[in-house]
């Protein structure tokens, strides 16, 4: 029969955690009681058995490979300070460029609508044939009846107006206007 007061401290006895006097009492009991001694021996066997098991070593090549993998997942993925500073500078430059572009487009639109407004305010009647020298722009014939209702902008005026719009925008905007970039070429 196992004795409760011994089995309660048997773990501590096996792990050598008892004070001297308790340890001596348990030792004496184990000498006298075969059941408790069996329990103690079984605990010792388990401890020795667990300690004897060796985790298989995957080999030096694995250890080198796994540490390289860990470094690749951590150190090599994290940008250093100078890279972060460069990224920040690039972001600021992009922000500034976008702001300049917006201002340019707004100014261009303002000039365009202002010129339209002043053009109609003049309300000057124009009649006759207006023939474009540029094959991309149509020739216009305006009759006397239409003259008072229409605003006629000549080819040169159109070109100058468009050139003005384009020049006010940043050079990167020329590509956005597509067909207008053809007009930009002064013949």
């Amino acid at each position: 029969m196992l004795h409760r007061h011994i089995t309660d401290v048997l773990d501590a006895y096996v792990d050598n955690e008892l004070d001297n006097s308790t340890r001596e009492q348990v030792s004496r009991h184990l000498e006298e009681c075969p059941d408790c001694r069996n329990e103690y021996e079984s605990a010792l066997n388990l401890r020795d058995f667990l300690k004897a098991g060796k985790v298989p070593d995957p080999g030096e090549e694995y250890w080198n490979e796994v540490s390289s993998l860990i470094l690749a997942k951590t150190v090599e993925r994290t940008p250093n300070k100078s890279t972060l500073i460069n990224l920040e500078q690039e972001r600021n430059n992009n922000r500034r460029a976008n702001y300049r572009s917006l201002v340019s487009v707004a100014a261009s639109l303002m000039i365009f609508f202002t010129s339209l407004f002043f053009g109609s305010a003049q309300n000057r009647p124009l009649t006759g044939n207006f023939t474009s020298t540029d094959k991309n722009l149509p020739s216009v014939v305006v009759s006397d009846d239409e003259a008072t209702d229409n605003i006629i902008i000549t080819c040169d005026e159109q070109k100058n107006l468009l050139k003005g719009i384009i020049l006010l925008g940043s050079p990167s905007h020329i590509e956005q206007y597509g067909i207008l970039s053809d007009l930009f070429t002064v013949r």
Partner: protein, 190 residues
Amino acid sequence: MQDSIPELVKAFSDGDNQAFAILVKRYQRKIYAVAYQMLGNHLDADEVVQETFVRIYHKRQELKHVSNFSSFLIRVAANYSIDLLRKRKIHGELSEDPASLPGNIQISMSRRVRTPRELYEDKTMMEEIIKALEQLPPRQKITAVLHDIEGFSKTEIAAILECPEATVRSNLHIARAKLKKILKNRLSKE
């Protein structure tokens, strides 16, 4: 280069990646051993090793307040192993050990796992231990692994598992009683 663990940990938390590389080399075997005994196969143990160090790397700022780096590291590994065990229990996932896979798969994996016969003289014994440990719930299992196999003290385990020492004693006592029962036949041969 400084050699003591506290100096390496301080250098690492200050952003020294060289110190991190040294810490990985020093602790990867320990983490692997704990994970292997918890999960019972190379592939899961490998995952735990990598994930533990990746997590440690991202938590390096916290290391300034950590008094025992080893315990901190084992805690991260133990928690991740327990998560994997629970996930496996829910989804029935089981990473197979290369030794149990068909030949062609073994060949493709042999680059990772080298199994020369002489290195595996304790393989049968280890397999028996792993099989017995598999029958324990995760907390009892990690307690037995850390105390009876890896040699951590109960106080250290309480710090690692963030629980009272009395809980460690209780879990260890129950785990040992179960293991004795499971390994009864094997232990009687000893």
